[in-house]
């Protein structure tokens, strides 16, 4: 798996609590109706089949129930009629930062995106509200046949590659929010890596919500052809408004035989954002899919990266860190579906609950009848920092047959007082001691992130400890 080059960069504003005045050429208004879909299709210049596709999805969205029988109660606060479903600039998808509108460019400069692109990235897709504002790919990779664009351009320029897999890993009727995304999707990345091409530097997408009451429904499809390898990193921020914002994305990964995909997410949405994302990968023979997931922000996150291990000896892995602060609910986890012999999977999830934060691990490991000699290991650990903190763990394991082995373990505890006393006795303040203890708790997982992200993550944790411990 390719590693990101190690360079030092100026500090970026990773919290992103700032905004610029809205200057949208296209505004579909509030609520999602058939008229909204007509507006989106017309604004994007989409073909008729896609218009019908979206309307079918809208009908499905209306039919499917909200998952209130198992989801956190906060999900009931989403008011779909108070969301704006499409806001876009006149000509999205610039190839040069100089052509990007001034406010948009300043936004991403403040977030550090152009600097990262110059320092170590193979390509960048920067989404501002509903559309891509900037997209670039290194020339040498484009010459090798790598495609890195947004979903709109994928449907028009690369339909023969995009459409066969579009909606196949996560079908329209999978759940209510996949139907919503199928109806209202805009932006997101499409990546295709040809057979045998191994990207030595990561591709990055950055999702930025600027407008109030916006719903962002990005649609990402990554296809790694046989023997291909890539690392994809995703960051997301939004300013904090008093009203709710909805981010409901769909991410589909397809790793064809022998391919490797590593998908890294650092989510730091503002605390008014409802972040409901469906992430699923399909791993064929000898392929590997790795989800590395960090959730720091949002009011409610519901995200369960999944891998369907379809081919022999396929491997899936999820590494997850969640931090739930006051008033936040981080409902995250992983799903591994073993559907072929010799498949292996590994899930490691760590969560920290601070103040009244609630961290939930929700996982599924399923070994089907035809998945002989499958192996899974799941480990989830939770740290509770305050008496008001809460953590829940809901794994579900199903094993058919006598040749596979699945093991699961979970623990909940607080930071050891003896450890804190030891450090304070050596002259460290209590916040500093707590910060060291918490960083130690997640250290192994943080090291899985590219170095630039891991440094930033540790800094964010230090900041949180200072705020929460005082």
């Amino acid at each position: 798996m390719p590693d990101a080059p190690r360079n030092s960069l100026p500090p970026a504003d990773t919290c992103g609590n700032f905004s610029f005045p809205e200057h949208h050429a296209f505004d579909a208004g509030y609520g999602l109706t058939e008229q909204t879909i007509d507006y989106i299709c017309s604004a994007k210049g989409e073909p008729d089949w896609l218009r019908e596709f979206r309307k079918t999805a809208l009908r499905r969205f209306r039919e499917l129930p909200m998952p209130t029988h198992w989801a956190p109660p906060e999900i009931s606060r989403i008011d779909f009629d108070a969301i704006r479903y499409y806001l876009a600039a006149p000509a999205p998808g610039r190839k040069s930062w100089e052509d990007v509108p001034a406010d948009v460019k300043r936004t991403f400069e403040r977030l550090g995106v152009p600097q990262q692109e110059r320092a170590f990235l193979a390509g960048v897709d920067a989404q501002y509200d509903s559309e891509t504002a900037y997209n670039s790919l290194r020339d040498d990779l484009a010459r090798k046949g790598v495609i890195f664009t947004n979903s709109t351009e994928a449907l028009t320029r690369y339909e023969s590659v995009f459409r066969p897999w579009f909606g196949k890993v996560i079908p329209m009727g999978d759940n209510k929010f996949s139907a919503l995304n199928h109806a209202a999707f805009s932006g997101g990345s499409f990546i295709y890596v040809p057979p045998g091409v191994k990207l030595s530097a990561p591709l990055q997408a950055y999702f930025r919500i600027n407008a109030e009451n916006l719903g962002q429904f990005e649609r990402t499809l990554i296809i790694a052809d046989a023997g291909a390898e890539l690392v994809y990193m995703e960051g997301c921020t939004a300013p904090r408004y008093s009203s709710a914002t909805l981010h409901s994305g769909v991410v589909e990964l397809v790793a064809l035989p022998g391919a490797k995909i590593q998908y890294v997410t650092v989510q730091n949405w503002a605390t008014n954002v409802y972040n409901l994302v469906i992430q699923r990968g399909l791993a064929m023979e000898d392929a590997q899919i790795r989800w590395i997931d960090c959730n720091l922000g949002s009011a409610l996150t519901m995200k369960y990266p999944a891998v369907i291990l379809r081919g022999r000896r396929a491997r899936g892995e999820v590494v997850s860190i969640s931090i739930a602060r006051d008033g936040q609910v981080q409902d995250t986890g992983a799903r591994m579906l073993h559907a072929a012999p010799g498949t292996t999977s590994n899930i490691i999830a760590k969560s920290i609950s601070i103040g009244s934060g609630r961290a939930i691990y929700r996982g599924e490991v399923s070994v089907q009848n035809n998945a002989a000699a499958a192996r899974n290991h799941t480990e989830c650990d939770a740290l509770l920092l305050n008496a008001r903190s809460r953590t829940d763990t809901y794994p579900a394991i199903t094993v058919h047959g006598d040749s596979s082995a699945v093991q699961h373990e979970a623990s909940v505890s607080q930071v050891d007082e003896e450890m804190l006393f030891y450090m304070q006795q050596r002259g460290l303040t209590r916040p500093r001691a707590m910060s060291l203890a918490v960083n130690g708790f997640i250290n192994d997982l943080v090291n899985e992130f590219p170095m630039e992200y891991s440094v930033e993550l540790r800094s964010l944790i230090d900041l949180e400890m200072e705020k929460s411990v005082g």
Binding site: A387, G401, S403, A405
Partner: protein
Amino acid sequence: MTTTSQHSTVPFPDRRNEDWRFGAPLTHARAFADLLPGAAPAAWQTDPAVARISHPSSLAPLPSSIGSAALVQLAAARAPYAFRISFPAGEWGCAETPLVLRCTAQSDAVARLHVEVLPGACVHLAEEHTCPGALLCLRFYDVHPGASLFVHLREHGVGNTSRALNISHLLCAAGSHLRHLTTHSTHLWAREETTAEILAPDANLLLLSANRLNADRWLDQHLRQIHHAPGSESLALYKNVLEDSSTAIFAGNIRVLPTAQDTYAYLANHNLLLNPAATAHSLPSLEISANRVRCSHGSTCAPPDPAQLFYLQSRGIPLPVTYSLLTTAFLAEVLSRFSPARPTELL
């Protein structure tokens, strides 16, 4: 509204209910509901010493905390009186010769049991249920402060179509000890819903189950360990050996309320699969709302270790005997926690 008609307003288990996620819960629940109007109250037999202190009681039905409210209501309608025993202070039975509490029925039946273990009492009970049809049993064990209770529930099915549904509620008061073991054999379908609550500090709770399933038998176990008070301990260890096309479901939950600081709770479910057609579902879960706790759970589903199989065979032990030794040892861990002196006799 009568109890019989009350059940019609209470929802039946269904797949959208997390407590009934697998199998065909509505089919089995409705089958029970269809049988219950014709079911008779089961008969209880016990040792003379216990019979002297037992008496019928028309207690209100248990509130079901795990998904079967409709069945609880129906059962209370069919068996309005519970078999009630209050054990006063003193030793009642011992590990080698526990007191026997036997529930038998000749066809479909409903049984209700209410056992109180008063302060200063130490009780060893062997509870046996035998029924060729469908037996629904509501069980309530109330262990008072400072008391101890060791109870082994053994379920016997007769014939190949018998079914059993046990809904149990266990309460532990301050300083009490409760050791609860269940073993199932030969029922076509059996479901166990156990809610164990620790109401006061310094209680100690050990929940055990060891089962060997074969043919197309189905065992569905649900367990809830609820800590209301600080400074208590609860451990649960459920193990199943699955042969042929049998199926085991385990759904456990440790719930620690904000008032239960300094809790130690552990939950483990281990399944040994011996046949390509066997299936195990395991859903251990945690809901923790206090921070000064040590809570954990573990689950495994796997076949016997090939290295262990080879080791025994390399000593000249035939393969069938090897499997027998390993499966007995697998379950013996559970049984030895209940009765260190005579674990394998308990199966």
